[in-house]
């Protein structure tokens, strides 16, 4: 049999010839022709013109031919929906066939034909097949429900297929159970509707655990993945699930092993921390993880990425297994790089000698990336294990002596970090570093060297000459800021000889540069130096905070989330699924480990670091004295708007700053437009102002009291700006679900339809959790109220102002953009009640510099009880209360959806119209918003 000949027909008139052959009377010829069609389809040729001819071949008792025709159908049905209906009869008939293989084939293929009309015909056969006597048909039908749900979710729910699927969980055949689990999990992952959620109770869990022992390797993976989403009631249940899953660790399929590891890692969180059970389980986890490293390299890679997470979460598991992560000569590069990462994580005082010896070997390999990473690894070892620092530094010096360009540069970058970690210890090597100045051509290495020279200017005799030589290459933009700071440092240390140099750099920075950051920093230095050199010294030469020993750890909340995704793509990318999966309505429960670990088990999670959201923009470098001025445009815009608009704007910073992708000018133009042509501002209801998304304070001040406070709707998108579509809206929380409530009004002459909505990346990752459901068409003059459930797992980007949300709305006419402000209390979560002890520890732990006080009004002069009740409704929880000198102190906590905790102390003076609110948090940016939320909630009692 040589089918390859079908790949070679490329002559002209081919389609016509094929058409003839397809209509031939001879069976063999027909089959040959269909094969040719499939071959053409494979290589990407368009053979859709043959649709009717191919479909005609469907009526056959030759199974092979039938399958080929089906394959064609699945590919082209979408482009020819009307013709696809022609095939329906055959499918329906085949679903009644006596041969179970044919019944299954029909139902399997039918689900793959993604034509809306066909779904009506699919329902009946599918219902029958779900109850078929043959397990092969049932297992195929189970998957078909997921297919149908993907095409038409509503239909699946209405037709009761979900219940039928749930029944299949108790099927006698393990493969049917596995497929039913897979289908249900997928449906509950993609559907926002509560009816579609997979209910997991003890009974289902037991059924799944029973099926686990008997089904195929793939089925075991489906079941284990579903089990990992279950939240056990108590220790005992968690323990028994773990016990029954543990044997899977000896399965030869790495997928099964990894999924079992996920279940166990999650399970351990529910069992008491110190329990013996966890200790033994941890011991059992090590060998299978090591064994994964002898599988195919691709599987090794997946395993290593996961091990990287596991050693961060539970370092004990693999602490004795350092040697297996040593790089082998023949490992593919991706395996080598991952092993290196894990080696550093496992490095301790005991094994450091061995690790260093290995790293030194690696630094002489050929692959540039690998060598660089090895050099960096040596530096990280120095920072991590203090006792080894000296040896690491001397190893690095050896490497610098090799004069291999990229090795030298990488070494200098890490030595800078070593200097910062151990000040005044290794500066003796500076002279060696200086010998290599000429070879530095990478920005990072240059910047590091410049920093070193500036920082230790007093010890380097010719520091001025060195910096001067760098100054010659000032046009290289990547190191300008660094060089400016370094020269100012030098001047402060050796003012007499370097006056000329500093003047030169200041004038270069302020006059010859187009970079506003650089210019501003130049001006600040200049003014500082000219007005108060002593103050300049204090600012520029301030003591730098030490860098922590674990610089590249994942942020704890992200780590916890990723632990829940072990084995999946998220664990390979080390990113939450929302970062790479489109339009996902993630179910929050899945991504949460129990609170115990989230609130910080310092030993196990190392969660002492601040819970700043991971994707938020990098924190300002400590050395840069002035914050970079990306808000400059925003302020300007704010000035402009407030001048034009008149109403008092207490929140200047709340006016929207233009973001690159929306275009600042556009927004400004829009604002003016609405001012001229839009509805005139009504007193008390600043509609036009709202249309520009400004003034949260004003809007909120108008509030009506309700359980969780819902601001009134405001016009976000005025009709003239959006070709007749007017959008107004607000935000609310109902039953723990966040909603955007919108009113759409059609002011145009023609009906509108095909509405869709999308959010830009925003500070808190708000994203639509389902598609926008607008009754369509929206006829002229008609108004529609719609609610849009929101998820908080969307892409994150820090916005300015922080609460800004940019929205794109589409209809059949065009795409429109507008922006609005999210009230921060929308993001308070119901699990924001901190444990008393944790509260106390956290309060102490956060530096006092992060505490902000403010007097806020208490217009109704409420008593502490009233206040705390009211706040609790908005998820601000009172942890403790005490009375000091006649004043009541309330200690409160709240948590934002991205895991930021805010702690508060509220001082209430009896019979006083004001009280003092002190807020403490690691993420200072949210403080103004939280203060407002307090004022607002209290004012609206």
């Amino acid at each position: 049999m040589t089918d390859s000949k079908y790949f070679t027909t490329t002559k002209k008139g081919e389609i016509f010839e094929l058409k003839n052959e397809l209509n031939s009377d001879k069976k063999e010829k027909k089959k040959e022709a269909v094969k040719k069609v499939i071959a053409s389809m494979t290589v990407g040729k368009d053979v859709s013109a043959l649709f009717p001819d191919v479909v005609n071949c469907m009526q056959t008792d030759n199974l092979e031919l039938k399958k080929l025709v089906y394959l064609y159908l699945m590919n082209y049905a979408k482009s020819q929906p009307d013709m696809a209906i022609m095939a329906v009869n055959t499918f329906v008939k085949d679903c009644e066939d006596t041969n179970p293989l044919i019944r299954a084939l029909a139902v399997r293929t039918m689900g793959c034909i993604r034509v809306d009309k066909i779904t009506e015909y699919l329902c009946e056969p599918l219902r029958k097949c779900l109850k078929d006597e043959d397990p092969y048909v049932r297992k195929t039908a189970a998957v078909c429900v997921a297919k149908l749900h993907d095409i038409n979710a509503q239909l699946v729910e209405d037709q009761g297929f979900l219940d039928q699927l749930r029944e299949l969980l108790s099927d006698s055949n393990p493969m049917v159970v596995a497929n039913a689990v897979a289908a249900l999990s997928e449906i509950s992952d993609t559907s926002p509707s509560p009816a579609a959620q997979m209910e997991m109770n003890q009974q289902t869990i037991n059924k799944l655990l029973a099926a686990l022992n008997e089904c195929t390797e793939w089925g075991q993976i489906f079941i284990l993945d579903a089990l990992s989403n279950y939240v056990p009631k108590d220790d005992r249940e968690a323990q028994s699930i773990c016990e029954r899953v543990t044997p899977r660790l000896a399965h030869s399929n790495a997928g099964v092993v990894l999924s079992a590891v996920k279940v166990l890692m999650k399970g351990m969180e529910y069992v008491g921390m110190e329990s013996e059970f966890v200790t033994t389980l941890q011991k059992k986890l090590a060998p299978p993880l090591v064994t994964l490293l002898s599988s195919e390299p691709e599987v090794q890679y997946v395993a290593l990425r996961n091990i990287n997470l596991i050693v961060q979460k539970r370092p004990d598991i693999l602490k004795h297994e350092m040697k297996v992560f040593f790089v082998k000569y023949n490992d593919p590069i991706y395996v080598k790089l991952e092993k290196l990462d894990i080696m550093i994580r496992l490095a301790t005082q005991e094994n450091i000698a061995q690790v260093l010896a290995e790293l030194k070997e690696y630094a002489t390999e050929v692959d540039v990336d690998f060598v660089r990473k090895s050099v960096r690894a040596i530096g990280r070892c120095a920072i991590k294990v203090e006792q080894a620092a000296e040896r690491c530094v001397s190893t690095l010096l050896d490497l610098i002596q090799t004069k291999v360009n990229y090795v030298v540069q990488e070494a200098i970058v890490v030595i800078k970090d070593i200097f910062r970690k151990y000040p005044n210890k290794y500066e003796s090597i500076i002279s060696t570093l200086c010998e290599n100045l000429e070879s530095l051509d990478e920005p990072d290495a240059r910047a590091s060297m410049i920093w070193i020279v500036g920082e230790y200017a007093e010890r380097i005799d010719n520091a001025d000459e060195l910096l001067e030589s760098f100054l010659e290459g000032f046009h290289d933009e990547s190191t300008q800021l660094q060089l400016l700071t370094a020269i100012v440092k030098l001047f402060l240390k050796k003012p007499t000889e370097t006056q000329e140099l500093v003047q030169q750099v200041l004038s270069l920075a302020t006059q010859d540069s187009d970079n506003p950051d650089l210019r501003d920093r130049g001006y600040i230095y200049w003014r500082l130096l000219s007005t108060d050199p002593a103050a300049a010294k204090e600012v520029v030469l301030a003591e730098k905070p030490l860098i922590s020993s674990e610089t590249d750890r994942l942020e704890p909340t992200l780590l916890d989330e990723l632990i829940c995704y072990i084995a999946s793509l998220a664990s390979v990318y080390h990113k939450p699924p929302s970062a790479f999966v489109e339009g996902q309505a993630l179910v929050v429960r899945k991504t949460q480990l129990p609170v115990r670990s989230a609130s910080g088990e310092p030993g196990a999670t190392g969660a002492t670091e601040s819970p700043v959201p991971q994707q938020a923009q990098p924190v300002q470098q400590q050395q840069s004295v002035i914050p970079s001025h990306d808000t400059a445009m925003g302020d300007l815009l704010g000035d402009l708007l407030s001048m034009d608009l008149n109403p008092p704007q207490q929140q200047m910073s709340m006016t929207p700053a233009p973001q690159q992708d929306m275009g600042g000018m556009d927004l400004l133009g829009g604002g003016l437009d609405s001012l001229l042509g839009g509805p005139s501002p009504v007193a008390g209801m600043p509609a036009s102002q709202a249309s520009m998304g400004g003034g949260l304070g004003d809007i909120l001040g108008l509030g009506i009291s309700s359980t969780t406070y819902v601001p009134p709707k405001q016009v976000w998108l005025p009709a003239p700006k959006a070709k007749g579509l007017e959008v107004s809206g607000t935000f609310s929380i109902r039953q723990n679900v966040r909603y955007m409530d919108l009113t759409l009004k059609n002011n145009a002459m023609a009906p509108m339809g095909d509405f869709a909505i999308q959010f830009n990346k925003n500070s808190f990752g708000l994203s639509p959790a389902s598609a926008l459901q607008v009754p369509s068409p929206l006829s002229p003059g008609q108004t529609a109220d719609v609610t849009l459930p929101l998820g908080t797992n969307g892409p994150v980007q820090k916005m300015d102002p922080l609460m800004n949300l940019q929205v794109a709305m589409k209809n059949n006419i065009d795409v429109f953009y507008f922006s609005c402000l999210i009230p921060i209390h929308l993001l308070f979560t119901e699990d924001g009640q901190m444990d008393r002890k944790v509260f106390l520890a956290t309060w102490k732990d956060i530096p006092d510099s992060n505490e902000v006080q403010k007097e806020i009004a208490n217009p109704n002069q409420l008593d502490p009880k009233g206040i705390s009740d009211k706040l609790q409704q908005s998820f601000i929880f009172t942890i403790a209360q005490r009375n000091v000198d006649g004043r009541d102190m309330l200690y409160q906590s709240l948590k934002l959806t991205n895991g930021i905790w805010v702690l508060a102390e509220l001082k209430i003076q009896p019979r006083s119209p004001t009280m003092t609110l002190s807020l403490k948090t690691r993420a200072l940016d949210v403080i103004p918003q939280v203060q407002q939320a307090y004022e607002l909630i209290i004012a609206n009692m």
Partner: protein, 434 residues
């Protein structure tokens, strides 16, 4: 789950393209070709994300296989599936090559239709698949009993074996295959050593036989309290061994192994891998390499390497090869060896010394003079001396204690089954630094 599966030749031409989900478009096929196959760089990761689409790819001989998805799929499952797919194709038509794939594309589409449904892997066991998907097209006319038999096997609890297998002669072969890995210091100190072993079974047994398999695993023996039976002492003189970790074919009842430490299963028909294991303790190293390197001035080096075999004199090692690396600036080599053949291979920068066979407790040596070109390059980093060999015993000391076969329904007993056991120890990375 998996959104689509593509197979390409080394030029990036599509041989097979099967899309399971709507979110994967035709442009994904091209995106992979442009960004991965045609990329200049070597593959930096087996998972590539292009425009929010993730590609899981493996390359076998000259053929690329890629699974595509836009969802957060189980990555372990995807790669295991790809490897399984390769295995299935190999068992149907042999080597994975462009010609073989083109010649069997209809078959491959049929297989893909069967083993992946909406991107969810289904039963992919070849022995079962072969009962209803054949290279000569599907058996169209099968009796009703046969149909239901097929479907119950595909979905059955014992999905890896079909019923009604009959042999006139019940026979089974067990191969204990071990790879012994070593890294030794020049002074003869073991830096690291481990054995990666596999037990491969070929079974030709009738019916649905229940098998019980026993090895000299320390845990099991200690548990059963059996005293060391002198007749069961292995070639290396150990009674029992400590296994670090082991994994089993899906036929083995894992829960039973966890609780009772007994390996019981109903085997698939034909050849398959029953078990893999890893040991690190008390490995008997079949060979010891003693290097002696002397640099005589700047342009000359003397190398002497002695190998000693360390196993029973009655056994014979085969396919022995010692690879002695030479500096990059070598200009000429003179080799003297008493046994075997030695040759300097300039392209590989090494002296390769081959011996057909060597008995136990023997010694053999090679000496070489290496002439060097004067060079000012950095010092030669002296890569380790590596060795290849094959020995007829298991370096870990693993012994098969028993394999019992029970088939209550058919009238043959354990005694009627002819059993063959073979031990082969091979070198993995067997290196001595010099």
């Amino acid at each position: 789950m998996i959104g689509g599966l593509f197979i390409y030749n080394h030029k990036g031409e599509v041989l097979i393209s099967r899309v399971y989900r709507d979110d994967i478009g035709r442009n994904a096929v091209d995106a992979f070709r442009v960004n991965v196959i045609h990329a200049r760089q070597q593959v930096r990761s087996p998972v590539t994300n292009i425009a929010r689409t993730s590609f899981f790819h493996i390359k076998r001989s000259n053929i690329w296989l890629a699974c595509v998805t836009k969802q957060n799929v189980n990555a372990g499952l995807v790669f295991e599936f790809l490897n399984k797919m390769v295995e299935v194709m190999q068992s149907y038509f042999g080597k994975i090559s462009e010609d073989n794939i083109k010649n069997n594309f209809v078959l491959i589409y049929e297989l893909l239709d069967e083993i992946l449904d909406f991107g969810y892997p289904q039963n992919a066991d070849t022995s079962i698949l072969k009962t209803f998907i054949t290279q000569t097209g599907i058996k169209a006319q099968v009796t009703k009993e046969e149909q239901s038999q097929i479907t119950s096997q595909v979905t059955g609890q014992i999905s890896w074996r079909r019923e009604g297998i009959k042999y006139r002669r019940n026979e089974l072969f067990l191969d204990v295959l071990e790879n012994v890995n070593l890294l030794m210091s020049p002074q003869g100190q073991v830096l690291s050593a481990h054995v990666a072993g596999r037990i491969v079974m070929k079974s030709y047994l009738s019916g649905m036989p229940e098998c019980k398999f026993g090895i000299n695993d320390k845990l099991v023996l200690d548990k059963s309290g059996r005293s060391d039976d002198p007749s069961k002492v292995s070639a290396t003189g150990k009674a029992s061994i400590a296994i670090d970790d082991c994994t089993f074919h899906q036929c083995v009842r894992l829960s039973k192994f966890e609780t009772e430490h007994s390996i019981s299963f109903i085997p698939p028909d034909g050849e398959y891998e029953l078990m893999r294991y890893r040991t690190t303790k008390d490995i008997s190293l079949p060979f010891r390499v003693i290097p002696l390197v002397r640099e005589v001035g700047r342009t000359k080096m003397e190398v002497k390497v002695v190998i000693k075999s360390n196993f029973k004199p009655s056994l014979l090692a085969q396919k022995i090869e010692v690879r002695i690396p030479t500096p990059l600036n070598t200009s000429g080599v003179q080799v003297i060896c008493m046994k075997g053949k030695a040759k300097y291979k300039a392209s590989e920068n090494a002296i390769v010394w081959k011996l057909k066979r060597m008995g136990g407790m023997k010694e053999s040596q090679i000496s070489a003079e290496i002439e060097l070109l004067p060079s000012d390059k950095k010092k030669w980093s002296r890569p380790p001396i590596s060795m290849n060999f094959e020995v007829p015993f298991a370096p870990s000391g693993l012994k098969v204690r028993y394999l019992k076969v029970f088939e209550p329904k058919l009238n043959y007993s354990d005694h009627d089954v002819i059993k063959w056991v073979r031990y082969i120890g091979r070198s993995g990375l067997y290196e001595t630094r010099c």
